[in-house]
Subunit: 203 residues, 2 copies
């Protein structure tokens, strides 16, 4: 074979990490295959060994995000925070750091891809849904041990979805205004919501 | 002058309406000047009579959105809904119709432009902030007469900002999933927030 392929361990992971970083920083459409290859220090032949095209690479990136959800987002919060409700706010702090690190340029990588792609890459839609679904289920699981602190019948999946909505809305407004303020206000309002739930639950 | 200009009444308004519609449906960058002229049935000379370039047209569109906030969004809700809190949900129903009318393609026109433009058109940033600010101030004004129903010291501007955050986050997730469900859940959670506030206020 004349095409150079690099199938050593780590090549696929390097491609995914570079694609993830560039899609997040610049968007999917604005990222050329060439810049992914350059950043990952991989030849085109190796890319096409693992992924048939850019859309398949995108789906790989979205699967990668789902795989790193536990080790990168959830476990670091679990390691420092035992209280179920405080864990939610530990997760919000993670997204605040994303805002800071990107100088308000990029918020949630999944949310950004969701908005940019719309319906243009159907294969990616299922992966985006799977990411949002896994995120909300994990947060609902976190909240499980606090169930008794909330009013009877509180739907924890719904509450976790509200956390996701607040996070995405807060990031969006913070990016638009290039200010932490809308995000911080969203977090404070979410805290108020949890306080009110606990107050109504304890009554 | 060889350039055809059309300065009759309504020309500027037609340009703004066409630009607003196309920016909302396709995005700012994807909309060419030619398609705006075609839809508005206006010659280029007339466009440049009113706007020096596409960025100035964009700022005109954003000012236009602020001008129609009262007559198009707020007054129709005020006409059918007297209760301050119910007005908030009347406004949410307006955005749900935007989702339906665009087949989940576009949510809040200001939010979409904010995310697409980022920091790339600084002149538009101030106009986007002015739109979000006016929206939240109007909602806070709506809530004023309900102040006594909430706990003492409730910050109505902050509460209005939380309505905006929930609306934008809910639209975003609904567009991503091409489903009303995330938006409807966001609205129900916001209702729960208002119920909890009124419960804590009445206690």
């Amino acid at each position: 074979m004349a095409v150079k392929t690099d199938t050593r361990p780590g090549t696929r992971e390097r491609l995914l990490a570079s694609a993830a970083r560039l899609f997040h920083a610049r968007g999917y459409h604005a990222t050329g295959i060439a810049s992914i290859l350059k950043e990952a220090r991989v030849h085109a032949g190796s890319l096409y060994h693992y992924f048939s095209d850019k859309e398949e690479l995108l789906c790989g990136v979205l699967q990668h995000y789902r795989q790193i959800l536990r080790p990168v987002l959830l476990e670091p919060v679990e390691a420092v925070e035992a209280d179920p409700v405080e864990r939610v706010f530990g997760l919000m702090a993670f997204y605040r750091r994303l805002l800071a690190d990107s100088d308000f340029g990029s918020g949630c990588p999944i949310g950004n891809l969701a908005l940019e792609l719309g319906d243009s890459v159907p294969a990616a839609r299922a992966e985006i849904e799977a990411n949002f679904g896994a995120w909300a289920r994990e947060v609902a699981t976190w909240l499980g041990p606090a169930r008794e602190r909330f009013p009877a019948g509180t739907d924890l999946e719904r509450l976790a979805e509200f956390v996701l909505t607040t996070m995405e809305g807060g990031l969006m407004l913070a990016r638009a205004r290039r200010s932490f303020e809308p995000f911080d206000h969203a977090v404070e309002s979410l805290r108020e919501h949890f306080r009110l739930l606990e107050r109504a639950g304890g009554a």
